[in-house]
Amino acid sequence: MDDIITLAHGSGGKEMQELINSFNFFKSSWKNTFNDSATYDIGKGKQLVFTTDSFTVDPVFFPGGNIGHLAFCGTVNDLCVMGALPLGLSLSLVIEEGFLKKELDKIINSIKKLSKEYSIPIATGDTKVMGKGKIDKIVINTSGVGVIDKKDLLTKKVEIGDKIILSGGLGEHAVSLLSKRFDYETDIVTDSKPLVKEIIDVKQLIKTAKDATRGGISAVLNDISAKNRVGMIIYEEDIPAKNQVVKITEMLGINLYELACEGRFVCIADEKTAGEVVKKLKKFNNSAAIIGKVVSGDKVIVQTYLGKRILNVPTGRIVPRIC
């Protein structure tokens, strides 16, 4: 059935991975090309860090944010989790004919506000308009660059006994979109935010980090497990999630661990420093917690309050497209 592209190919699960692997571009001096950002050795122990991301979301405005907010945070966070500070972003807009100017203004103002607050300039950009019905409202692409000392790259080897830390409650971004789409009344707003300050505070104490966007912590933990050839065990009762988030996911029959966050990351730290990492992260989000540990093996196991189960890489379309 793979002779055409379906929505499953863009859902951050196995199908997307297989599609990307099939592209098979020629090998270059760029490293970490399958990571959140790629890196390039520019000499004197420095690495250039580069990433790009396109954003399409329905609805464009949702509780606590909009597509512009996401587009800024998404790319910034992909640089941050490598340990890099973003130097600047590009911003490309593809807009549907007939899109309201005042809505575009709101989107741009969100980006401007974040750009100023975090001192991350929009260095370059592009704007295209497509005919009515040729594109769904608006698609935004952002790319970002940063520079980092090679020794500070957050791609250090994960070892058995290390602790797994989550920076805040799961699923809030996805549930904010779902509540808007299904007309549920909730207090949940998106978790979308730049992770710059959090990462600055803990980067010397952690080995690796990944922001839990598409595919949620299921995708992230399985990725870290596979790259480092280790197993993991996470304790369901220690995983932070707001009650409303849990209930809505149960009601819709979707897996909380597969839901996208836009301002949460998973990081791995040595047993000795993990407590300090959580303490620092709690200043930003009181729900930050150690959720599990690295063990031998090759699977990610969830220990529930009853029995155990395996947490697999998400497949198929995880939820309605939300980021």
Binding site: T6, G13, E18, F182, T304
Partner: protein, 342 residues
Amino acid sequence: MRNKKFIDTHIRKIKTLSEKINKNITLMEICGGHTTVIMKYGIREILPDNVSLISGPGCPVCVSSQKDIDCVIELAKNNIPVATYGDMLRVPGTRDNLEKIKAESGNVFEVYSTTEVISLKNKYPDIVFFGVGFETTAPMTAYLLKKKICVYSVHKIIPPAMKILISGNVKIDGFINPGHVSTIIGVKEYKEIEFPQVISGFTPEQIIRGVSMLLELISKNENKVVNGYREVVRNKGNEKAKRLLNEMFSVEDSEWRGLGNIADSGLEVADNGLNAKIKYDKIISSVPEPKKTACRCGDVLKGLIEPGDCPLYRKVCTPENPKGACMVSKEGSCAIYYEYGK
């Protein structure tokens, strides 16, 4: 309700009863929603060795016949707009699935609620709703019929299938009856099935309590139904929904994947003018009977084998490339085993 103490009490009770019964006991959970919770919380591993839980046919996507899927694909290929629930899009037909036709033609619409079909009708007056599900979702389809929307119905009703399972090749000692279906049909209809049954809710606590209630019935040789989901299941069920079903559907024989044709087990659109099978008879009659494949969904649905016993499971049949319906739906046994199992 996360209540370890409650669970411990019932697990102790289950242990005592299973020792008292002192033989292998097989309980079937009819509903895929129950299977999900059982696998998600690893409930099987905390039950005594002689008590096993097997999954039943309670995944509507899974029991829909291949022929029906092929027919709806044929409608969409003939430029008739089709709307249905997301899970149906990925069920493999003989050659294509609806997801592919959606990507190719734009004639297929994924909906989360039947009310979305009403808005689609404004833009696509000929829209056909591919109605799937048991007594739980059928009332919503009945509502669409009231709104004069054309329907291709593969809706099915559960009690006739339970009767077939009892007389089948699989030794079953008791049923965990589906919670959501029971909110509609109530308790009464199960009474005709003289067999140990407990209606259960969907928390791990409710399921474990259901197992202990079921063992109690079995130990006393009591062939009756107990309502273990009194929070939402009434004796007479949801009378308004039942009236709507009676008004818009007629009960007819229906083809179940795996179980074959079961008498009086399907809900067919009563109004011929709104029945897509009649309205588009010319297109549908050209669809050939599907060929038999190595897929053993049928045996999985009957409880004859576990997903891992199928030669295709995990080898060529995976959630991203499902060969059989049970691997498609999040409520399908194979997909649930794949997601939560080894």
